[in-house]
Amino acid sequence: MLKLENVNKTYSEHQALKDINVTFNPKETTVIVGPSGSGKSTLLRSLNLLERPQTGLYTIDERTINFAEHIDTATTLWVRRKTGMVFQQPGMFNQLTILGNVIEAPIHVLKQKKDVAITEAHHLLEAVGIGETADRYPYQLSGGQTQRAAIARALAMHPSYLLLDEPTSALDPETEAQILRILKKMAEQNESMIIVTHNMDFARYAADRILFLEDGRIDFDGSPNDFFEHPNERIKKFLNAFKF
């Protein structure tokens, strides 16, 4: 379980997160939606400690971190191992093959044996549909293949939660659909995922739960059915923006 209590994050003058209180349950797919600049990515990155909110508590697996206090390196690394992250720009390691990208962290962070890591990496690459790319370098992959490789790389660390920050925003619609199908399949297999996306169809059909953020606050927290039928004018306006 991931739990944020009274979390606040400010960038100089701008308050990106305002008194956030939310719990993310295991085996649940949560989709975070909201307008640009509403704090979605900041919230997600705070869960991986890539962002450090100034105040609030963060509980992960019975361990509570106080954002107002110094967070030591060991704790930071522990949290990051628990919360795998996939970004809009995947940040593939260009000097390594796709297989190398997937096994690098398991070998050096988890201290996995190389042959074990390689076997598992091949399985993961097959699972995301790019088994044939193992020996290629990142520049030889399409955008969609690269994003799948990034998902495999994150999964190789066996994170308790997979965090995805707009993983399909830079992709064409067809490739986006391919990636979202993979994520939907993972959701059906009860992977614990938190996904920031603008794709409302995905939110409707794959999410167990939707969070709607507006101006750094959680304005809605509930099921997809409730969200898409919500009477709130602001949510209606947000959803109508996707219609032509």
Binding site: L50, R80, G84, Q89, E104, Y139, A150, A154, M157
Partner: protein
């Protein structure tokens, strides 16, 4: 003309093999160690607080000072300071021989320039890769050593190769601290045979030959290092 080349070229080439090439190779190896250390340390941003942060900043200031002093003063002056100036301090270990003075000045000077090339190469690696490595739970040093440095090394190869070429030519400055390297010998020979134009053109040609031969491996190193880019 061919008679002139046949007479003097062997002597100059021997001086080059005996002095110029060892001076360049030894200095370059030391310079690369210095450059890698300074370049990496100047780019490294450890997550430290309090007194450790102050110490780290002091250390970085020292490195910045080193780069500044060696880049903003002529190498010729640095050689004079090292060979003629330091012994005046009366400190025994600060009385270098001509060879030691030349090697240290060439190494420190080249190291200062090359460290900037390495630093620039490190900063050119996209921040997304650093962030992805951190998100995977890698430590700062793992991120740096496993992800950033290997790519920065490839990017810095052409600039470092340029540094090496400059260094080969800069060894001619060692003549001012009494090392009888190729250029010093050519000066002596020109003074004896009163043929300065031919002699200096010949020594220039031999420098060009050395540079061409010694920079030949760069092509293969670059091709190998470029295997993971378009």
């Amino acid at each position: 003309m061919w008679n002139f080349i046949a007479t003097y070229a062997p002597q100059l080439i021997m001086a080059g093999i005996k002095y110029t090439i060892p001076l360049a190779l030894i200095s370059f190896v030391i310079a690369m160690v210095i450059a890698a250390f300074v370049g990496v340390m100047r780019s490294y941003r450890p997550q430290v607080d309090g007194s450790k942060k102050i110490l780290w900043r002091l250390f970085q200031s020292l490195l910045i000072f080193y780069v500044w002093i060696f880049r903003s003063t002529p190498m010729l002056v640095q050689l004079f300071v090292a060979f003629y100036g330091l012994p005046k301090l009366g400190i025994s270990w600060l009385q270098p021989s001509a060879w030691t003075a030349a090697i240290w000045v060439l190494s420190l000077n080249t190291g200062a320039y090359a460290s900037e090339a390495i630093r620039a190469a490190i900063s050119s690696i996209p921040a997304t890769q650093r962030e992805a490595a951190q998100a995977l739970g890698m430590t700062d040093s793992q991120t740096f050593g496993l992800i950033i440095v290997p790519q920065a090394a490839r990017i810095s190869i052409p600039t470092l190769a340029n540094s090496f070429i400059s260094l080969i030519k800069d060894t001619s400055l060692a003549s001012v601290v009494t090392i009888v390297e190729m250029f010093y010998l050519s000066q002596q020979l020109a003074a004896a045979n009163f043929e300065p134009l031919q002699m200096y053109l010949l020594v220039a040609a031999i420098y060009a030959l050395f540079v061409t031969i010694l920079s030949f491996p760069q092509r293969y190193i670059q091709r190998w290092a470029d295997r993971f880019i378009k």
